[in-house]
Amino acid sequence: MRELLYLTYKSILNRKLTFLLSVFSIAISVVLLLGVDKAIKSSKSHFINTINETDIVVGSSNGSLDILLNLVFHLSDPLKEMSYKSFEDIKAFDEIKWAVPLSLGDKFHGFDVVSTNEEYFKYYRYSSSKSLEFERGKGFEEFYDVVLGSKIAKKLKMKVGDIVHISHGSHHHEHKNRDFKVVGILNQTLTPNDETLFMQLKADEAIHLEWQSGHFVDMGISSEKLSHMNIKPKHISGMFLGLKSREIILSVEEKIENYKDENLKAVIPAKALSKLYKLMKNMQDILMLISLAVFITAIFTMLSSMYSTLNERRREMAIFRSLGAGVNVIFWLFAMEALLIVISGIIFGLITLEIALYVISVNFPFEIMFILDTYELFMLLVIIGVALIASLFPAFSSYKSSLQDGLMVKM
């Protein structure tokens, strides 16, 4: 056993490069297989928790997916607006703990503008109940204050104190006469908030006073005066609701959908997001298949590197046999080498994976499980099993050819 290990060690030393290449290819496939699974799981949990602790999202459209896509992801066409009066009525329900109005439609350098109020930053939760935090500055105070998502600030190189102008609708028409001031920049969240400019709903309403049926009409009102006009919004795109208790979620949903003055739709985001996530299932299967292919390639890389040396090592085997080594020694000489490749590859792969996960967890707001879960452990066992079984093939071949050759190798 001792000399077997020593001989294996010497033989590997003699073939350092091929050995390392085989180890790397196994390591890469371990990183990919387990890493892709980790990535899928953490992105799933991140996606489903894009919005958290918001019990109900309300809009006036009929499609619950439309409402979700528009209000949470800022995608899809503009929603049919709901009246601000409905918002105030629902906010006054006994069951409601908090309610935040949202109005979308304007743009800022191609990014979405969400008009809301200070409460949005207070109640919005993502991931496992992380709240929005300011990397710089603070929330709204003055009428013309805006808050930027992290990605906008980074991309446009903006800082607190900068003056910005909002585009009206999706046109390239800016509300040039109204200067807004950046007062806060949010932390990176990897949610749609990163690509959003937030302004006060009352300011949004006010600057649209001068727009009538799609055209700008200069009414000569100064910004200062406009901010004191106290214009109440008439319509909003939708609202986020938090309830006093989660148990009453279904009854509140029903109550909203039966709201008498307007046709409203209540969406439970947790449910809708899970449904939406299923659409991405195919994508994940493909990722997993690719990783699997990489793993199979790694196994073949190992086998081909071992088989390529098999013939040149036949003489070596005859020498060992002439010295009294049994064919089982020949088998183990090869098996040991393959086992070392497999084991080193897997250990190296796991270390790399953990380092990668650590780097990701430090740099991105993902919730990452460092420990392998049961499924991943099972996957690791399968990887080890397959690699071990594969490793025995060249060992068995050398065993067989050594039996045939005996001491007299005919090349």
Partner: protein
């Protein structure tokens, strides 16, 4: 002198063939004898050497070596027996390329308890053999693959001799050597084999080497399978 090898009505054929490749009525080799076995390729001498060293088993008959019938042993007993009592020198590529000269020689003792038992001090023994075979001592730590063919063959002799096995098998050991080194090789080999009192079975087609030996056989005369 005692008989060291006794072969009686030994027959062997490969599983995929219906023709005997070995059919030896009787062959006796005395202890300490130096035998030249002349054989053409295809005469079955490789098979014979495999039978002798217990890598193959005869279908019929007995191969008695050192008063033990090796055809009755199981394969691991045969492996041990070979490791303990045989030293083998091949035509070429005798050494494990990635091991040093010293490691190559001591490998013989790794696989045989008896050989390592026969040695008091391995390092001293290796050095003695190297100088007897006129190889510089610095070669000990050199990788086998860096040696010339002639040097490698002499290291192979050292490995075959270490631990004083009773029987040395040499299968065309000089065929890769030029005539000068061939001469030198034969002299060194004989000196050491005589010193140890080993029995030498030397297989070659080069009849010019026969003068070194006290018994010369034509393998085709021993092996009736071909007649």
């Amino acid at each position: 002198m005692n008989n060291i090898i006794n072969i009686n009505s030994c027959k062997f054929k490969y599983a995929n063939s219906n023709k005997n490749i070995i059919d030896i009525k009787s062959l006796t080799i005395k202890s300490g004898e130096h035998i030249f076995l002349r054989g053409k390729s295809g005469s079955g001498k490789s098979t014979f050497l495999n039978l002798l060293s217990g890598v193959l088993s005869p279908n019929r008959g007995a191969i008695e070596i050192l008063s033990k019938d090796i055809s009755l042993m199981n394969s691991s007993q045969k492996d041990r027996f070979r490791g303990d009592n045989f030293g083998t020198i091949f035509q070429q590529l005798n050494l494990i390329p990635y091991l040093s000269v010293e490691e190559n020689i001591s490998l013989a003792c790794e696989f045989s308890k008896q050989k390592s038992h026969n040695i008091v001090n391995l390092t001293v023994e290796i050095e003695t053999l190297l100088s007897a075979l006129e190889l510089p001592l610095e070669f000990k730590s050199k990788k086998a693959m860096t040696l010339s063919v002639g040097e490698q063959q002499r290291v192979a002799v050292a490995r075959a001799l270490i631990g004083k096995p009773k029987i040395i098998i040499a299968d065309e050991p000089t065929s890769a050597l030029d005539s000068d080194s061939k001469e030198k090789f034969m002299q060194l080999l004989f000196k050491q084999v005589e010193l140890q009192g080993s029995t030498l079975i030397f297989v070659s087609h080069d009849i010019g080497l026969a003068s070194y030996f006290n018994s010369v056989y034509d393998f085709s005369e021993i092996n009736e399978a071909l007649v």
